[in-house]
């Protein structure tokens, strides 16, 4: 299933609806990077609330997405990581690097708002 990407006030919101296979993750990456330039988005939010597992591949792809989107001039925020997922990630030594995170969609949008205001 393709991850739907919504547009809201200059921001793109990718809302993950179910657990993702590796191909779907790559698809999400390609879709998002393509959309950022077509709609001239000011920021991207990836909502992973429904994910109850985050493996090393997913972590790496999320990092890659953020990096690529940054190269196209927009910040990325990952929102909705569950506490259990966060705990498992740090115990497995998975890191999102400099990727920004927020509690939920609302927080993420606020964070992006602060960023774009500062620019």
């Amino acid at each position: 299933m393709r991850v739907p990407i919504l547009q809201q006030g200059g921001y793109l919101i990718a809302s993950v609806q179910s657990s993702l296979s590796d191909e779907e993750l790559l698809q999400l990456r390609d879709d998002l990077v393509a959309r950022v330039s077509t709609v001239r988005a000011r920021g991207v939010v990836i909502d992973v609330t429904v994910l109850d597992v985050m493996d090393s591949f997913a972590t790496r792809i999320l990092r890659d997405i953020a990096q690529m989107i940054k190269l196209r001039g927009a910040p990325t925020v990952v929102v909705g990581i569950q506490p259990e997922v966060a705990l498992a990630m740090v115990q497995l030594g998975l890191s999102l690097g400099n990727l920004e995170t927020a509690l939920d969609l609302e927080e993420g949008l606020t964070l992006l708002g602060e960023h774009t205001k500062a620019d």
């Binding site: 929102v79 990581i81 506490p83 997922v85 966060a86 705990l87 990630m89 740090v90 115990q91 890191s95 999102l96 920004e100 995170t101 927020a102 509690l103 927080e107 993420g108 964070l111």
Partner: protein, 310 residues
């Protein structure tokens, strides 16, 4: 061949018996009970003298330094009486319960295991020496008396030491439970600002519990900044430091920034020496500074208002 051996050993035995008329182990006329009775009578007779010597030896050996001389003498008296009684009756229940009771009283005063074992062994020594003095001229009798005395004395020493250690372990178990029950509170001090004061020892079980509680707290209170205060953490090793780093990382994944406060000089030194990388973590000297920093991050401005003007 076998018969030959047997006869030879018998002959050797005869020879030995001739050399040492009463070989230990096989008392010819007195039973162990009789000997013990004699022994107990002797110990009863010399009670105050031996007791005093024992108390003096305890002080000389600098055992039980947490107690005064009078207290030592009083305890010595009752231990002595219990000891002699256990020797006499051959039952250890009374001594056991006394030992437990004694342990209960002296453990809170900081008496160590080696001290208790030390004083029991001292008493054993004092009594043995008095036996040496008494039966100085009768070596074979001394041998038999010691045969009767040693196993009983060993058993008593064993009973008292084990009683003490068991009591100590019970206290430790209780304390561990008490510590575990002191769950780590996650407190909200301002909108979106949480405080997590950590007190005591962090083991991996507690660290896990702590991290889980913090993450739930962040979600529940929608926190943006968390101040972890470790003023109450006495020592930190690599494991604990890594737990804290993990907690900070996990909180960050939920979108909350973490400020660690209250690192003591010792901990700072240890961390630098063992090379734990805390550079990615914001640290502030004390809790107050941490809260001020958090308020700055959240955009709060605290202002003191002159009460006389309002």
């Amino acid at each position: 061949m076998a018969k030959n051996n047997e006869t030879k050993s018998k002959a050797e035995n005869k020879e030995d018996e001739a050399k040492y008329p009463n070989i230990p182990g096989q008392p010819p006329d007195e039973s162990t009970a009789t000997l013990l009775r004699e022994l107990v009578a002797h110990l009863r007779q010399k009670r105050s003298e031996l007791r005093e010597e024992w108390a003096n030896r305890i002080q000389e050996a600098e055992l039980l330094t947490a107690m005064t001389k009078e207290e030592i003498l009083a305890e010595a008296t009752s231990v002595y009486d219990n000891y002699v009684e256990a020797l006499e009756t051959g039952t250890y229940e009374a001594l056991q319960s006394y030992a437990r009771n004694l342990s209960e009283r002296i453990i809170p005063r900081g008496v160590e295991t080696h001290e208790v074992i030390g004083i029991v062994l001292l008493l054993r020594d004092v009594l043995a020496r008095s036996l040496f003095a008494k039966y100085r001229d009768n070596f074979s009798k001394l041998n038999r008396i010691l045969d009767a005395y040693e196993p009983a004395a060993n058993r008593i020493a064993n009973t008292v030491s084990v009683g003490f250690v068991q009591e100590r372990e019970r206290v430790i178990r209780e304390q561990q439970e008490a510590i575990r029950e002191l769950s780590t509170p996650v407190l909200q001090v301002r909108e979106r600002l949480l405080i997590l004061p950590i007190i005591g020892i962090i083991d991996s079980k507690r660290a896990q519990q702590l991290t889980e509680q913090l993450l739930q707290g962040i979600r529940k209170n929608r926190a943006k900044v968390v101040v972890i205060d470790i003023t109450g953490v006495a020592a930190m090793d690599e494991k604990v430091a890594n737990h804290i780093v993990q907690t900070v990382d996990a909180a960050r994944l939920l979108g909350a920034g973490v400020i660690v406060t209250g690192l003591s000089t010792e901990i700072a030194q240890t961390l630098v020496t063992i090379g734990v990388d805390l550079t990615k973590i914001i640290t502030v000297g004390d809790l107050q500074g941490g809260i001020e920093e958090a308020e700055r991050k959240l955009g709060y401005q605290v202002q003191q208002v002159d009460p006389t003007k309002s």
